[in-house]
Symmetry: C2
Subunit: 460 residues, 2 copies
């Protein structure tokens, strides 16, 4: 491959690009924790300033009911396509804190990686877009080879309510030919990867109540309902021993992948044993029999309990029958499953399976459908070709088991597909302690994105 | 009933007796929380000082590996029986704090009750023994009508390990004819009650581990084991929908109460509907079909989950597959069930029912057998007769579903029965927010205990 000017510019500015990202990562913009609201606002300010510095115009910090959106654009390439860059500047909580080898908001460079919460998900990846635009302007004499818009949110990790409200109300402002999102990963180290499918997500909180107050288990044990045990009984019925979801109707609309897609997965460099040992780190994998690991994580719905709390869990022994217990629960959805229908099924199932003496309530934290991207779209073609060039290998098309709800909103309200071009690695530990992002992937990501924008601009 | 001198003395000193108890209740002697170790020591000092003040001799604060024991005696009544008074000065944690109407360690007098953690369990009841002895000495010219020993512990709410080690090593020092414990309740308001049966307790912590670290539920959901869900699956198998324990062998040695005892329970003033509504406060009671509520809470084993924790339970949504989860679990035991055998059954059951991909470990926090007291013992006869006199009603004989492990230790190592003479009320809220103790029961308890000691001394 012949190095382009933009490649050279990126190489010459690597250390500054890294320093800027580290400053961004130091802001603990945890969107789910109210005590970090100020930090989230600070991160929004950082994003706005970095967009201005990159030469974007009409930079706006848009206040919402929760956390701000940041918008910016550069629209001086008439006749050229428009790309809408999306990312998020908020991060997951870092707990359990004691498992971090270096503090989550004091980025540490070790073994060629940046260790920090948000290093990969999504600050590191989002910031590549900004640096790609800066690099393109530098080598194109202050102009860009196409029109570009940025819409960056601060609520991706808490359901993305504000952007969901914003997009349908600002269709003209956000009008574009394609969206570009870097919030996914390479299938394997060095393998250029485009993601063409995402699972949807329904996230719930289920609360169980039993007795009016915590009771002494000696006096009342044997006769009083136990809220913790009631919740355990309920949740245990959600899946059979093999992991098949037992909620009636849940598999009704599950679309099977095309045989060609299943066939293509078999060619991917994937070792179930490596996955089990090095990524999951458990004695055994679980899940539906007769489905491959890739099918189970990409193309099948799931029911997971993310957390549970109730009763006494301090040191020592306390003999209470707890009055209350709560669980965080989600279902990942696959194409053709409708979030509203799934929600209704789950609520009815909870009602029908709540043990006697227990009262349950279901709260909905978020709900979004699965997404499929048409691999024959011109932007996907260009992306695949640039990606292959930069990495020197054929681009693979995969799905992701994760959920990026905004991709669905862009499809529904703006009528555009999304190029899901991510540079994370499978062991980057998103949402886990010691989240990392490989420094070389950060630089290659900037180059690839800049080259994609250049090529996509030239293609029209 | 003709008032005795001791009755008069108690009545004349009521307000001072109350003030002293309030001072005792202000000490947050929560034995299970390491940060309260100093408070527990302070409570031990308070007990020692109050025993000295009451005229007891040889007062000793006995250091242990955890919390001190307090010993004292008065042994100048040759030829008279010896009573060993037991109680505990430690209390349960007060959480959930937000449900207390007044702070748990700032006793509040409302509607004839003392509201405070430990008001009934067991500071208020233990302190009655001290005040009964003080009153007896006052009316017996500085002497006592019988020999008396006190052994008060500070670990009852955390398993009582230190006293369990102490008793078998000090059989001579603790030699007595009978033990006296006030850590139970009246069957109903105004009904003199002797407890002749206690359930045993095996208290466990079960930890489940799945993946090596918390995982992103999008990337891994469908293939990675979930520690929280694994623990849920395991625990859900402990009981069927009717509350019958499913651990093999668990009912093998369960002794059925004698028909006469079951008959006597039917005569007790008990309304299942009142119990459900006013004590439990749930929509329905639970437990084994075909067993009365009294049988279920007094004479049947139980399996309860006291608390569970794992994964993310903060505000908002976090999509992790948790690596670890832990539950606090206990089984209440009935006569003839051996704690060691039950422990072995539970451990084997855990091993055999742990879901695939999950690793479980069982930690034992305490284990003690159920207790039966022979109602024909002379001390029980005397206690019943004094109790009936003071309260003006026939004494009823009941069991308690709770566990007082020391009663078993006294039987095993000292060969003595225990008079379980408690003055709590069923709605006193032991281990719950707003624990209370009725002020008049405190005074009547002091009188009844003093009269019992007097009568038991005279009976020999």
């Amino acid at each position: 491959m012949v190095p382009s000017n933009v490649d050279t510019y990126v190489r010459q500015n690597e250390s500054r690009f890294l320093e800027e990202l580290l400053a961004f990562l130091r802001i603990p913009s945890i969107s789910t924790l109210p005590e970090h609201k100020g930090d989230v606002a600070q991160a929004a300010g950082f994003v706005a300033e970095s967009l201005r510095h990159a030469g974007l115009q009409n930079v706006e910090i848009i206040q919402t009911r929760k956390h701000p959106l940041v918008y910016a654009d550069w629209l001086h390439a008439p006749g050229k396509p428009t790309v809408l860059c999306y990312g998020h500047y908020d991060v997951q909580p870092p707990d359990p804190l004691e498992l971090w080898e270096s503090p989550p908001f004091e980025p540490s460079l070790r073994d060629g990686n940046i260790y920090a919460r948000g290093a990969c998900d999504d600050k590191g990846q989002m910031y590549m877009h900004v640096k790609a635009v800066e690099s393109l302007r530098a080598v194109h004499g202050g102009a860009l080879p196409l029109n570009i818009k940025f819409l960056i949110e601060g609520e991706e990790e808490v359901g993305g309510e504000s952007i969901s409200e914003y997009v349908p109300k600002h269709k003209d402002k956000l009008k574009a030919d394609v969206a570009l999102v870097s919030d996914t990963e390479l299938f394997a180290d060095g393998v250029p990867t485009l993601c063409i499918g995402l699972r949807g997500l329904v996230y719930l909180e289920i609360e169980a109540r039993g007795p009016a107050r915590d009771l002494h288990s000696g006096m009342y044990g044997g006769a009083a309902p136990n809220a913790v045990y009631g919740l355990i009984e309920l949740l245990s019925k959600a899946k059979d021993a093999d992991g098949r979801i037992q909620i009636p109707g849940i598999y009704d609309n599950v679309a099977s992948p095309e045989p060609a897609e299943i066939e293509s997965w078999k060619a991917l460099p994937f070792s179930e044993e490596d996955f089990r040992r090095n990524e999951v780190g458990a004695t055994q994998l679980t899940g539906e029999p007769g489905q491959s690991v890739l099918a189970r994580t990409w193309a099948r719905p799931t029911f997971e309990v993310h957390g549970i709390a109730g009763g006494f869990t301090g040191a020592g022994a306390k003999t209470v029958i707890p009055a209350k217990a709560v669980a965080k629960v989600s279902l990942r959805l696959v194409p053709k499953q409708q979030p509203d229908r799934v929600l209704a099924m789950v609520k009815q199932w909870v009602q029908e399976n709540t043990p006697k003496g227990i009262h349950t309530e279901v709260g909905v934290l978020s709900a979004g459908p699965a997404i499929s991207v048409n691999p024959d779209h011109p932007a996907i073609h260009t992306a695949a070709s640039v990606f292959s060039e930069v990495f020197g290998k054929p681009t693979v098309f995969i799905r992701s088991g994760g959920s990026i709800p905004i991709v669905g909103e862009f499809a529904t309200h703006l009528g555009i597909p999304t190029v899901l071009m991510g540079f994370g690695l499978p062991d980057d530990g998103l949402h886990s302690p010691n989240e990392k992002y490989r420094i070389s992937n950060y630089y290659e990501g900037i180059r690839t994105i800049a080259r994609f924008l250049e090529a996509y601009g030239e293609s029209r």
